[in-house]
């Protein structure tokens, strides 16, 4: 059973990494967008295996639904071709070296360090019993009420800003 669990993880992780690579390398922005949706779905699968089903649903609805529809809509609206839009060879090498170095540092940190073991009260059994949405809601509307209200104001500002920026001059 554990072997199966690990196999599942590696298969989904492989799909996530390959589609992430395609986001970066595809010439056509539409292909990049489709690959990004694939990555979002893989991450949603991971959220389910991490006992966070509400987050998986939100991931699919908000990211793969709303945000990607917006991006694809803008790509179609601007009618972008698949022109070669990559920087010079030096810039690409520099970027790959820089982010490879960053990945290397993070991997060393993960290998040498250890995760804190101050465990909280919530485990998989409680998520099963109470329900993930209810747990999120309890936390969101008690401890994080002020950030929640601020997020609503942020969304209002974003709506007004988007309309003001994108509308034609009257």
């Amino acid at each position: 059973m554990e072997i199966l669990q690990q196999l599942f993880f590696y298969v989904v992780a492989l799909v996530a990494v390959i589609s992430g690579l395609l986001v970066v390398t595809c010439r056509n922005p539409v292909n990049s967008a489709i690959s990004l949706v694939m990555t979002f779905f893989c991450l949603a699968i991971f959220y389910v295996t991490l006992h966070a089903p509400f987050m998986a649903a939100i991931q699919i609805m908000v990211y793969a639904g709303a945000i990607m529809v917006l991006i694809v809509f803008v790509i179609m609206l601007l009618n972008l071709g698949s022109a070669v839009a990559v920087r010079s060879r030096h810039a690409v090498t520099g970027a790959v070296v820089a982010s490879g170095l960053m990945l290397f540092q993070v991997l060393i940190l993960l290998k040498k360090g250890s995760v804190s073991v101050v465990k909280g009260p919530i485990d998989a059994a409680q998520v099963e019993a109470v329900g993930h949405t209810e747990l999120i809601g309890q936390s969101l509307f008690t401890d994080f009420l002020l950030p929640f209200e601020i997020a609503s104001i942020l969304l209002l500002v974003a709506i007004v800003g988007a309309v003001v920026l994108a509308k034609r001059e009257v």
Binding site: Q6, A16, G20, A52, Y63, I71, L78, I122, A151
Partner: protein, 101 residues
């Protein structure tokens, strides 16, 4: 050996690095924007993996707020790109040089 929190952290680090490569190498502003979304998602995976591992709900609330900010960013950023395209007929990040001295 069962799937541990380290597996998720390594995967998240790989996805974040891929996003960084995309932001630094691509010139199409929309693709750069999608790479930023990829980086945000890598961070979300870290938050949820650690939240689930430590038995604490706060990480998932953070993911909730990151998604809110990403949605706001998508709306405003894409509106900016439409405006820019209308003025310059291009969304190449090399052309975003209005403030350059």
């Amino acid at each position: 050996m069962i799937v541990s929190v380290y597996h998720y952290m390594v995967l998240s680090a790989i996805l974040f690095s891929l996003g960084t490569i995309g932001v630094l190498t691509r010139r199409n502003a929309i693709v750069v924007f999608m790479c930023i979304e990829l980086m945000l998602n890598a961070v979300n995976l870290t938050f949820i993996a650690l939240s689930s591992y430590l038995g604490n709900m706060d990480g998932q609330i953070f993911v909730f707020f990151i998604m809110t900010v990403a949605a706001a960013e998508a709306a405003v950023g894409l509106a900016l790109m439409i405006t820019f395209y209308r003025n310059r007929e291009s969304i190449d990040v090399e052309d975003f040089s209005l403030l350059k001295l």
